[in-house]
C-alpha cells in the first residue's frame, strides 16, 4: 500500500513552517540574502505542500478503511481517571480535500503576493511572508489534527496569524485596530470552544476524532453509543443533565468557536474590518484559512453534531439568518473588498445552513467551490486595486473591462459562481445546500424551513450585489482619471487568476452520517425533486443579477440604493451591529469590570490588608514587653510560673 505519502504527511504543515522560520530568521539577520523578501521559500514550501496534499488525497482513496491515522502521546496521564494528550495526523477524504484547497490557495496567494506586495515596493516583506508561512502551517496542521485539543491549539494559532497579517501595515491607523478587533472577537468565540474542549475531556476522557478498536476511543463514537443506550461507553455528565442534553451543551460550546471564526451572526463584525489587511491576506483568510476553519471544524466532528437535532437546527437557522443578513448589507457598500467581505459572511452562512440541514456533503462541497471562487474574486479584486493605485471605491472605477480583460473574465466567472448562475460551480453547491434544507425542512422542521426561506431570499440579494459590483467596476464609463489610465498587472498577478478559473468539484466520502442523522436527529427526507427548488433559486439569482445589471451597467450609473432612504442608512451602518457591540463592551462590560475591580481592591484586598495591619499593630504594641532587661524577663518567667501553679492548683483541687 502507498504508505509513503502518509509518512510524509507532517511535512505538509512543516514545509510552510520552515518557510516561516527562513523568512523570520534570515529576514531579521541577513535580509540581503533573502530573494524577493521571502517569497521564494514560501512559494516553494506551499508548492511542496500542494504536491504532497494531492498525493495524500489520491492515496487516501486507495488506503484500507479509506483513512490514515497516526498519533503520538505528548502528555501521558497518571492515575485513575487519567487521559492522554495527543498530537496526530488524520487523513481521510475530508481532511485531504481541505489540505489540497488550503495549500493550493496558499500557493497562489504567495505567487500573487509577488505582484501585489513585491512589485508595489512594500517594506517589511520578510515579516509579511513569515506571517503567511505561519498562517498556512497552522491551518494545515489544524486540518489534519486528529483530536479536539490539537485542533484548538492550531485554531488559536490561526487567529494569532490573522492578527499579525491584518495589522501588517502597522503604522497606519485603521489596520492595527481592525487586527485587534478580529483577534478579540474571534477570541470571544474561542473562549467557549476552550470550555467545550475541557468539557469533552471531562465527559469522554478523550478528544480523538477517530481511533481505537471499533472507534471506541473517539468521542463522537462514544457519544453515539451512549445515546443508543448500548454498553461500552462510559460518559460523565454534569449539571445533572442527561447525556442528550449535556451533549447539546458541549455542541453549543464548541459552536461558539465556530461562530467566531466563521464570522456568523452575531460575531461577524470582525470580518469586514479585516479588509484593512493586504488583499492577498484577505483572499487567504476568506477562501482557505481562518473563516473556513470554523465550518471545517463542524464538518470534522459531524459525527457528534449529527446526534444533536436541536443544535443542528440552531446551526441551520444561524447560517440561514447570517446568509440573508450579510447579503443585505453587501448591497449598499461602496468598496470592492467590503462587498466581497459581506459575500464571504453570507456564503459561510450557506455552509452552516447546509451542515445544520444535514447536508454534510453539500456544505463541504460549497466550502470547496467557495474557496476557489472567492480566492479568484479576491485576487481579481487585488488586481483591480493595483490597477486603481490602491483606491477601492467602486464609484471611482468603471470601464475597466477593456483595460484588463484577463482580470475581467476571471472576475466575471467568479461572480457568476458567487451569484449561483448555472453552470458555474457556485450554482451546484449552493443549490445542493438549499435543497438539503428544503428536503429535510419539508419533513417537519419549521426551523429548517425558516432557514431555507432566508437562504432562498439571500440568493436574490447575492445576485444583486455581485452584479452591482461587476457592473460598477468593469462596465460603463471610466469615472476617474485613475480608471482611465490603470496600472498594468504582470504575469504573477494573472497566473493565479487563470489557475483558479479551472476549479472543479470532487465527491466526498460521507461516512455513515446519513444513518446518524436519520436515527438520532430524526431527519426525514421529504423525497422531493431537486429540480424545482434549483430552478427557483436560479430564477431568483438571475432576477437579482438582471436587476443589478439593468441599474448599474449603464455608462453613468447612479446610486439607486439611495432610494431606500432610511433603510440604506441602516444597511450602510451594518444594522448598527458594531455600535451595539461597542456599547456592550463600553457600556456593560467596562462598568462590570470596574465594579469587579472595585470589589477586588476593596473587599478581597481589604480583608488581606486588614489582617496584615492588625498583625502589624498588635506586633508594634506587643514588642514593648521585650525590653532587653534580663530582670524583666526573669520577673515574667517567675510570675507566669506562679500563676500557672495557682491555676493548676485551683483546678486540680490542691487547696
Amino acid at each position: 500500500m502507498a504508505a509513503l505519502p502518509f509518512e510524509l504527511a507532517p511535512a505538509i504543515a512543516a514545509l510552510p513552517f520552515v518557510s516561516f522560520l527562513i523568512a523570520l530568521l534570515v529576514g531579521a539577520f541577513a535580509p540581503r540574502l533573502l530573494p524577493k523578501g521571502g517569497a521564494i521559500p514560501g512559494i516553494l514550501a506551499t508548492g511542496g505542500s500542494l504536491l504532497l496534499s494531492i498525493w495524500a488525497f489520491v492515496a487516501v482513496r486507495g488506503a484500507s478503511e479509506g483513512m490514515y491515522h497516526e498519533s503520538m502521546t505528548w502528555v501521558a496521564g497518571v492515575g485513575e481517571a487519567a487521559f492522554d494528550l495527543h498530537f496526530g495526523v488524520l487523513l481521510d477524504p475530508l481532511s485531504t480535500l481541505m489540505l489540497v484547497i488550503v495549500s493550493l490557495v496558499a500557493f497562489l496567494v504567495h505567487v500573487f503576493s509577488l505582484g501585489y506586495m513585491n512589485d508595489e515596493g512594500e517594506t517589511g516583506l520578510p515579516r509579511y511572508y513569515a506571517g503567511l508561512g505561519l498562517f498556512t502551517a497552522s491551518m494545515l496542521s489544524f486540518v489534519f489534527a486528529d483530536n479536539l485539543l490539537m485542533a484548538f491549539m492550531f485554531f488559536e494559532l490561526v487567529g494569532l496569524c490573522s492578527w499579525l497579517l491584518i495589522g501588517f501595515w502597522q503604522t497606519e491607523r485603521a489596520p492595527p485596530s481592525a487586527a485587534k478587533k478580529a483577534f478579540l472577537v474571534t477570541r470571544f468565540g474561542d473562549y467557549f470552544f476552550l470550555v467545550g474542549v475541557v468539557g469533552v475531556f471531562a465527559t469522554f476522557g478523550t478528544t480523538m476524532f477517530v481511533g481505537g478498536e471499533g472507534g471506541l476511543e473517539s468521542f463522537p463514537h462514544l457519544a453515539e453509543l451512549a445515546l443508543a443506550g448500548e454498553g461500552g461507553a462510559e460518559v460523565t455528565t454534569f449539571l445533572g443533565l442527561d447525556p442528550q442534553a449535556w451533549f447539546a451543551v458541549l455542541g453549543l460550546l464548541i459552536l461558539g468557536g465556530v461562530i467566531g471564526k466563521s464570522a456568523q451572526f452575531p460575531l461577524h463584525t470582525w470580518l469586514p474590518d479585516a479588509m484593512e489587511g493586504p488583499t492577498p491576506v484577505s483572499a487567504l483568510i476568506h477562501a482557505a484559512t481562518m473563516v473556513a476553519a470554523g465550518v471545517y471544524l463542524v464538518a470534522r466532528i459531524y459525527g457528534f453534531y449529527a446526534l444533536l437535532p436541536e443544535v443542528l437546527a440552531l446551526i441551520a437557522f444561524v447560517g440561514g439568518f447570517t446568509a440573508l443578513f450579510a447579503a443585505t448589507m453587501g448591497v449598499v457598500k461602496k468598496e470592492l473588498k467590503q462587498v466581497l467581505a459581506y459575500s464571504t459572511i453570507s456564503q459561510y452562512g450557506y455552509m452552516m445552513l447546509g451542515l445544520g440541514a444535514g447536508g454534510y456533503v453539500a456544505a463541504t462541497f460549497h466550502l470547496m467551490t467557495h474557496a476557489f471562487f472567492k480566492a479568484l474574486l479576491f485576487l481579481g479584486a487585488g488586481s483591480v486595486i493595483i490597477a486603481m493605485h490602491h483606491n477601492e471605491n467602486m464609484w471611482d472605477m468603471g470601464g475597466l473591462k477593456e483595460k484588463m480583460p484577463v482580470t475581467y473574465y476571471a472576475f466575471l466567472s467568479g461572480s457568476l459562481a458567487l451569484a449561483g448562475i448555472v453552470p458555474f460551480s457556485g450554482f451546484w453547491s449552493k443549490d445542493e445546500v438549499l435543497f438539503e434544507a428544503l428536503n429535510h425542512g419539508m419533513a417537519g422542521s419549521e426551523l429548517l424551513l425558516g432557514a431555507y426561506a432566508m437562504g432562498l431570499l439571500a440568493v436574490f440579494f447575492t445576485g444583486f450585489y455581485t452584479f452591482r459590483m461587476v457592473a460598477l467596476t468593469f462596465h460603463g464609463d471610466a469615472r476617474t482619471d485613475t480608471a482611465r489610465n490603470p496600472h498594468g498587472v504582470r504575469w504573477n498577478v494573472k497566473f493565479p487568476l487563470v489557475v483558479l478559473l479551472d476549479a472543479g468539484p470532487e465527491a466526498l466520502g460521507a461516512h455513515h452520517y446519513g444513518e446518524l442523522l436519520h436515527d438520532f436527529a430524526h431527519y426525514e427526507s421529504a423525497g422531493i425533486s431537486p429540480l424545482a427548488p434549483g430552478a427557483l433559486a436560479l430564477v431568483l439569482a438571475l432576477a437579482g443579477a438582471g436587476l443589478a445589471w439593468k441599474l448599474y451597467a449603464v455608462p453613468d450609473p447612479e446610486e439607486h440604493t439611495d432610494k431606500l432612504g432610511g433603510a440604506k442608512t441602516v444597511l450602510f451602518n451594518n444594522y448598527y451591529q458594531d455600535e451595539y457591540q461597542v456599547w456592550l463592551a463600553e457600556g456593560v462590560t467596562l462598568p462590570l469590570a470596574r465594579a469587579a475591580d472595585k470589589f477586588d481592591q476593596g473587599v478581597i484586598d481589604g480583608v488581606v490588608n486588614g489582617v496584615s495591619s492588625v498583625s502589624l499593630f498588635g506586633g508594634s504594641r506587643l514588642r514593648r514587653i521585650q525590653t532587653g532587661v534580663v530582670s524583666n524577663y526573669a520577673f515574667l518567667l517567675t510570675a507566669s510560673f506562679v500563676v500557672l501553679l495557682v491555676v493548676i492548683g485551683l483546678l486540680g483541687g490542691w487547696f
Binding site: R623, G628, V629, V630, S631, T638
Partner: protein, 100 residues
C-alpha cells in the same frame, strides 16, 4: 531525727531568697550568687529526700548538681567579663541592645 518538713522549709526559704536576688539585683555577680542559692536549695531537697527514702541516688545526684554549678559559674563569669568589656559595667539592665 529531724522531720523532713524542716528541710523542705529551709529549701523553700533559700529558693525564695535566690529568686528575690535575681529579680531585684542589677549586679551580674550577685545574679550568679543568687543562681547558686537556687541550685543549693534544690540540693538540700535532694539530700533530704534521699535520706527520707533511704536511697542514695538523690545524694549522688546532688554531686552532679555541684559539678554543674561549677561549670555554670565558669561560663557565667566569662559572660560577665564580656559584658564588662562591652558596657564598662556589670549592671545587667544596661545591656539592652539585643532587642528589636
Amino acid at each position: 531525727m529531724v522531720p523532713i518538713e524542716y528541710y523542705l522549709l529551709l529549701s523553700a526559704a533559700v529558693f525564695c531568697i535566690g529568686v528575690f536576688g535575681i529579680l531585684t539585683r542589677r549586679n551580674a555577680l550577685l545574679f550568679l550568687m543568687s543562681v547558686e542559692l537556687l541550685l543549693n536549695a534544690a540540693n538540700v531537697n535532694l539530700v533530704a529526700f534521699s535520706r527520707f527514702h533511704g536511697n542514695l541516688t538523690g545524694q549522688t545526684f546532688s554531686l552532679f548538681t555541684l559539678a554543674l554549678a561549677a561549670a555554670e559559674v565558669a561560663i557565667g563569669i566569662g559572660i560577665i567579663l564580656v559584658l564588662y568589656r562591652n558596657f564598662a559595667d556589670v549592671d545587667v539592665t544596661e545591656a539592652t541592645t539585643m532587642r528589636w
